[in-house]
Symmetry: C2
Subunit: 343 residues, 2 copies
């Protein structure tokens, strides 16, 4: 019986809770996986600790109907994140707290506190992953715990676990991918003839792009993911600002047209390569791909990554890059991996 | 220290041995993985048993230069497959023996013998996987052993381990893919304007197609893989002959032209679907795919599979479908998985 603490109970946390409710019987039957969520602590929504296991449906109801976990009947209230981590006795902390992407806080401190006491950590939070993966992974190993972050790159689409386990033993010559769904959607639409500004307005209307689209269109989001890939798989010790970065804002209809005429297609590609001298080179920039490149056919908000390996050549995985359920699922698959490794 | 017995030492076996030689130091350093091959037994090439570990380089040399493992200095000779399995004391048997695809023998008997004594089995041999997966997997579980078969579908490209572990918790609505490289190469060339007969001759010249191409062009090879996917992931109890099957032999240039005009492309698609009544429907047949289907852009001998899942939607993996090194690697990645699960 895996005991789970959830730090953060926003969109992804509730998405995970929905999946756990819906799949409980099936997970037990098909994977022998049993769990209870013993604590939830959210900076805005309050907290509840209940050793016998929180009723997730009632927890969601409390938040949806009353706006706070304080409305949940039963359990102990008022524990902040660090108190929860210290006292809840969970095997795994799921870290989904709102996080400042420039400092990675408070998520990094939450991860450290959990790992130091031998509690495994699962997170889809890009802060700790992009800014502190090497240190947190070391801390996990030292304390015989796991630090799993599948959801930080392409939500639940298997990218990190695939590279770590299913491609183990390969050396990666390069890793390159479409790591941001918003910009890939925009490029797909621009190819149909819309201007950059019109496409951006449409993406904002559809909820793909935020009011301030900088993080997406300037490649900042993709650069964070490139950084994660470099540190996990090329043994780099890189910060997101070390990634050379150019977004899609300067792409004009004439550029799109030129690519089309040459049988090519623009994609915003995040890439990590090992140079001959052993250094790791990381970049995000628009690239004109030939149409037979496995990444060229990836359209709309879909994401994809190609691993160029020494033993298998190129292996590409294509799937969703974001979403409430998809990211919630990324947490579940890491919880299952921890359970497998412990049993 | 994982102790390995190899039953079969042909192309794939020697490919695996090459990788193990080349990667030994790196596997220890990066994955903490140490191994020794304590026995090799091949129906045609003889056998050697050596408890302290066979020198793989010398074993390959013996076969390449003298045509037989009998020329290997040291160790005990003359053990057949079943004696080897019984007496070599390995933790894992790698089953790569030549196998009759209609009966799965002698590979199935080798697998049973190993699993019954709690020895894990790794194989890229389609016989046991397509004809006896449910029974062999049950036998493995009963004896606390593993039965891993990544190499049976798309060689070392992660398909089965991906679906089993990295997509765990999902329900598969359907699985469909390009599961045969020869026919995909042929369709790619036919699209450039060559006739079926000319393309077949070229594929045979390049070594992609065999003198008797029936297994590839009639979809028999793909049907075996569809059967494996159905039994592993949809809980079916299917034989390859239960797969509805039509090959590419009746595709005419006019068909190719018609697809092109409609913005589509022919692919030989192996597919498993769950029907509304719960039954599993399995087929191999040429399908006209719209160009924005993730499988449509997969050209040449490359393979790909799309999993349509309840939580993530569609996830596609694209990579090599065959090859000596690629299939040798499929064995290594399963050996690493067994080591991970034991440590």
């Amino acid at each position: 019986m895996q005991k789970i603490a959830m730090i953060g109970f926003g969109n992804v946390g509730q998405g995970l809770a929905d999946i756990l409710i819906r799949k409980r019987a099936e997970l037990k039957r098909r994977h022998g996986y049993e769990f209870k969520v013993v604590a939830i602590s959210d900076f805005r929504l309050g907290s509840v600790y209940q050793a016998e296991g929180i009723n997730l449906k009632r927890a969601i109801d409390a938040v949806k109907k009353k706006g706070s976990l304080e409305a949940y009947r039963g359990g102990e209230k008022g524990w902040d994140a660090l108190r929860t981590i210290r006292d809840c006795g969970a095997d795994v902390m799921v870290e989904l707290a709102y996080t400042d992407l420039s400092t990675g806080q408070p998520a990094i401190d939450h991860c450290k506190a959990a790992l130091r006491q031998g509690m495994s950590v699962v997170t889809s939070n890009k802060g700790p992953a992009a800014l502190a993966y090497p240190a947190l992974n070391r801390l996990a190993r030292k304390n015989d715990a796991s630090f799993l972050i599948e959801g930080t790159v392409m939500s639940g689409t298997p990218v990190l676990n695939l590279a770590m386990n299913d491609l183990a033993g390969n050396e990666f010559k390069s890793i390159s991918g479409i790591l941001n769904g918003t910009t890939n959607y925009m490029l797909t639409e621009m190819e149909k003839g819309m201007s950059y500004d019109d496409v951006l307005a449409k993406a904002q209307k559809l909820g793909y792009a935020e009011a301030d689209p900088t993080g997406d269109v300037e490649g900042i989001d993709a650069a964070g993911k490139v950084c994660i890939l470099a540190n996990m798989f090329m043994n780099a010790k890189m910060k997101p600002e070390d990634v050379r970065r150019r977004g899609i804002t300067r792409l004009k209809p004439a550029d799109i047209e030129m690519a089309k005429k040459g049988g090519k297609r623009w994609k915003l590609i995040g890439a990590v390569k090992r140079r001959k001298n052993g250094d790791v080179d990381a970049s995000v920039k628009p690239v004109m791909l030939p149409l037979d490149d496995p990444l060229a056919g990836v359209m709309g908000p879909t994401n994809a990554v190609t691993f160029d390996t020494d033993l298998l050549g190129k292996v590409t995985v294509v799937g969703p890059g974001a979403g409430r359920v998809e990211t919630g699922y990324s947490i579940l698959v890491d919880l299952l991996a921890i359970e497998r490794s412990r049993s």
